[in-house]
Amino acid sequence: MIDRRMLLNIDWTLLLMVFGIAAWGLVTVYSATHGRLETHLEELYLKQLYWFIAGLVLMVSVSLLDYQLLSRAAYPLLTLGILLLVVVFVAGRAASGARRWLVLGPLSFQPSEVVKVFVVLSIARYFTDTHREGGLRFRDLLPPLFMVIVPFALIAKQPDLGTALVLFFVACTLIFASGFPLKILLSLMGGSLIALPIGWTFLKDYQKVRVITLLNPDFDPLGAGYHSWQSKIAIGSGGFWGKGLLAGTQSGLNFLPEKHTDFIFAVFAEEWGFIGTSALMVLYLVLVLRGISIAYSSRDRLGALIATGLVAMLSVYILFNIGMTVGLTPVVGLPLPLFSYGGSSMLATMVAIGLLLNIRMRRFLYS
């Protein structure tokens, strides 16, 4: 199974970025949980380390299993994932108003995290199998749309707007990358612009408030915009050089909410300044560009599409999370991959990295 050529093609650049980002993330989780206040969270950086190690194991395992084989199971896997989402919907554990978790004995996990990957696999598989003389037609778009809309609706209903949003962007990117005729895509876009106001009515009040707060950031900075405002203060006050490790007052004094999870970038930015944030952005950029390059040089269409979907997924997380902390996108609860504290996110990201390695390693293999 393991070919020598595969080992030669391990993407060290990608791995280097992963280690670099995760290590920096660990330091920041430590800093965010060791302020001047007791937080009862002092052990979290260790847990995060364990999650990363578990993620590495998972990454290696995923990279070993040929993605060609894996994609054959794409549709059954997606079906299973949707079933799990239904189970969550019926019997999941609620935390802070949302049902996202499935509890199995001592373990609990979010099916939405794995479903994302299954959707990528399924859509990639579909566009690999489907081709037509004279280009694809509109009705060829219906199966992939169906593949994404069912999990999208279930996840949005949890409600987990962030993950649903990721799914939406990933699907769009995949359809775009598949070479689908632009004419059809553009008319679809026009249609959705009309549909947008209708979708607005389906948003929950707090979600509407978040969008309004985004569009008008000075709207009620102590109320709905509190998170966003405090986050901007944290980032801005970091200045060019940063306040130094463990010296952030915004995070140290608990002004930042969710400071070790969704808003960890703000903690990081406060302590490391523009020097740190620009360096981290470069690491992330290299990571995703590396992903694009893997897609570009993949040996087949399937690998290219899977890689594109995964890159889209990672990029949406990165850009939306940072965009949220700097006040450019709405406050949707999306973690920063490899950086934010959280097991599910870490494992899902490492699976994606594993798949990217998988595709890269096999670019010269022909079955």
């Binding site: 060019f240 915004q250 930015a269 700097v326």
Partner: protein, 631 residues
């Protein structure tokens, strides 16, 4: 070998991948530009903001001045009070916390529930105010089991004697929006405590101290982490009252369980020595914010415990009004001391008959014996001849119908006149109404404080002083800042010989065989007084058979010693029956206490022989002839 279409991504996909890459790079560049803007261009502004974020100025309640009685005994002070609060974000599980506190502390969880349900709206939630020593000890002992729960200390007002003198001292409470409008420029802020009634309100400016402030480094949920700077709260001025705690206590005890008011004043200068209004309340209930339950209980109580009856309750003056009638008659020249009216128990007027309180009447009476025996027919006759407007002129001359100037919250009372009736009721004055007005019934209304001023002016020879309760303002270290002496408001329209005659008659009320106030007689001090009865329902039968709320109100006004008055007293008892019989002994006790005489039982029967008044050769008080100016 894979099929051609399965091999390398086709050209179109590659083209689009390049587009995607460009989009990605663009996204990252936008983020970097934004970071550059936030961290470098706006960095200093945000740095300042983050500095403000962590330094918070926490105001501290000022230390209000002490209030002491005329002998320096402390009536109102400050004490430390502990408040128990919880930070929901610091408490892992409120559900676990509640049972731990429930059994030990009387926390109203049901009232707190809405706050606990939405903990984000309330960063800290106050659980219990003003903990007892034991409760503080319990919390301190178990603090490790109570994460997120903490104690706050502050100075709060302490009314040493609870209900004693509550209306006079007043209470403090959180400033309301109306008050804030005017007080903002004086540095008051939302949540400050301010005097809401009594002396606390009258002397708010002086009592109020300097608010302190603690500049502390805080976290987002307001927890204090480190003290950066502190300005200690400063104390306010101390008030020395004219009140005599011992006398006040005596009167409070005498009035226990009743509804009514008693005020004791020095007629020589207007200093209030005791002021009691019953039923009372405990002002300590207000010091950390009164609970809704208690507040509603006060508001709904039909006995109105919050009302200061001495200045805010108005009653018909009853027979005490005969003092003013006698003055008016003598001054107007309608009667002389020798003018006699034959009283056979009733006074026919038009088609009505006005009865005397005494069946069969008093026989021939002059103004002296009419006052002594409180003969109604004499004053019916006099009132009819004076007319209501002349009566009103004299009543106003004695300060009735206007607040006495003690407190802005006073009620003005009512002096009826033809002009008043036309204006207020739109009806003409009926002569028959003058007859009942002549004995202080009908439309007449006075506050106990106003009646006190009447008897005080009679006692001191005709001077109306502004009643006041504050003797001195002192700085926190005891230095005199301001002294409040007597303030003359004017003179009553009566010649000295008229007043002397009235004084002698009032002495007779207490000391003559047929005097109605004989229960107030004292062997060693010459007391003068006048009884009064206010019918709550007309033609009420006498005695205790009537339900309490229909029984008569009783008045007793008194002064002593007659030859050199140092005390003026007014007593009003609601539904207490006849004034003379019930309240004269209280006046007697007040006099006894004031002159430090050994307590003696009140007399069991009227005097058999009249005692002469021994007047000192030169009057110590101002028996200066005053011009009689009719007002």
């Amino acid at each position: 070998m894979p099929q051609r279409s399965h091999s390398n991504p086709n050209e179109e996909t590659r083209r689009r991948l390049r587009l995607l890459m460009a989009g990605l790079v663009l996204g990252f560049v936008i983020m970097l530009l934004r970071l550059w803007y936030l961290q470098v261009i706006e960095g200093e502004r945000f740095a300042a903001l983050s500095e403000n974020n962590r330094i918070r100025s926490i105001p501290q309640r000022d230390i209000r001045g002490q209030i002491v009685d005329r002998y320096g005994k402390v009536l109102v002070d400050n004490r430390t009070s502990f408040t128990l609060s919880v930070l929901p974000e610091e408490t892992p599980k409120l559900d676990l916390l509640i049972p731990r506190l429930k059994d030990q502390l009387p926390i109203r969880w049901d009232e707190l529930e809405p706050k606990l349900k939405h903990p984000y709206a309330y960063r800290t939630i106050q659980l219990l105010k003003d903990l007892t020593r034991e409760q503080v000890a319990y919390v301190a002992e178990h603090r490790w089991d109570l994460p997120g729960v903490f104690l706050d200390v502050e100075h709060v007002r302490h009314y040493m004697y609870g209900e004693l003198s509550a209306h006079t001292l007043g209470y403090i409470g959180e400033i309301n929006e109306d008050q804030l409008k005017d007080a903002r420029e004086h540095g008051y802020r939302m949540g400050d405590y301010i005097g809401q009634s009594g002396v606390e309100k009258l002397y708010e400016r002086e009592l109020r101290g300097l608010k302190g402030a603690r500049e502390v480094e805080v976290d987002a949920i307001g927890r204090e982490l480190q003290l950066v700077q502190e300005r200690e709260p400063g104390p306010g001025m101390n008030l020395v009252l004219t009140l005599d705690l011992g006398l006040q206590q005596l009167v409070e005890d005498e009035m226990a369980g009743q509804a009514g008011a008693v005020v004791v004043m020095d007629p020589r200068n207007g200093e209030i020595l005791a002021m009691v209004s019953k039923p009372s309340y405990d002002p300590n209930l207000f010091v950390t914010g009164i609970s809704v339950t208690n507040w509603m209980r006060f508001l709904k109580d039909p006995r109105k415990p919050l009302q200061n009856r001495a200045i805010q309750a108005q009653y018909p003056p009853g027979s005490t009004y005969k003092i003013i009638m006698a003055v008016a008659g003598l001054e107007e020249g309608l009667i002389t001391p020798k003018t006699t009216v034959h009283c056979n128990g009733f006074f026919p007027f038009g088609n009505r008959v006005f009865k005397d309180w005494r069946k069969g009447g008093h026989g021939p009476v002059n103004v002296h014996s009419a006052l002594v025996q409180s003969c109604d027919v004499f004053f019916y006759t006099l009132g009819h001849r004076l007319g209501i407007d002349t009566i009103a002129r004299y009543a106003k001359g004695f300060g009735l119908g206007l607040p006495s100037g003690y407190d802005p919250l006073e009620k003005p009372g009512l002096v009826p006149s033809t002009a008043w009736k036309r204006q207020a009721r739109g009806e003409p004055w009926y002569p028959g109404e003058t007859i009942s007005a002549a004995i202080g019934q009908g439309y007449n209304l006075v506050t106990p404080m106003q009646l006190l001023n009447v008897i005080s002016a009679v006692a001191n020879g005709g001077v109306r002083y502004r009643p006041h309760i504050v003797k001195r303002l002192e700085s926190p270290d005891g230095k005199l800042i301001q002294e409040f002496g007597p303030e003359r408001l004017g003179e009553v329209p009566a010649r000295p010989e008229t007043l002397r005659l009235v004084q002698q008659a009032l002495f007779g009320v207490v000391n003559e065989p047929r005097g109605t106030g004989w229960r107030g007689r004292h062997e060693q001090v010459n007391i003068g007084g006048k009884t009064g009865t206010v019918q709550v329902i007309s033609n009420s039968p006498k005695g205790d058979r009537l339900p309490e709320r229909f029984r008569d109100h009783g008045w007793f006004v008194a002064f002593a010693p007659v030859e050199n008055p140092q005390l003026a007293i007014v007593i009003l008892g609601e539904h207490g029956g006849r004034g003379g019989s019930t309240y004269a002994p209280i006046a007697r006790k007040i006099v006894e206490h004031y002159f430090k005489l050994p307590p003696t039982p009140p007399p069991q029967s009227p005097a058999v022989v009249q005692r002469p008044i021994v007047r000192p050769p030169v009057a110590a008080t101002s028996f200066v002839p005053q011009p009689t100016t009719a007002q």
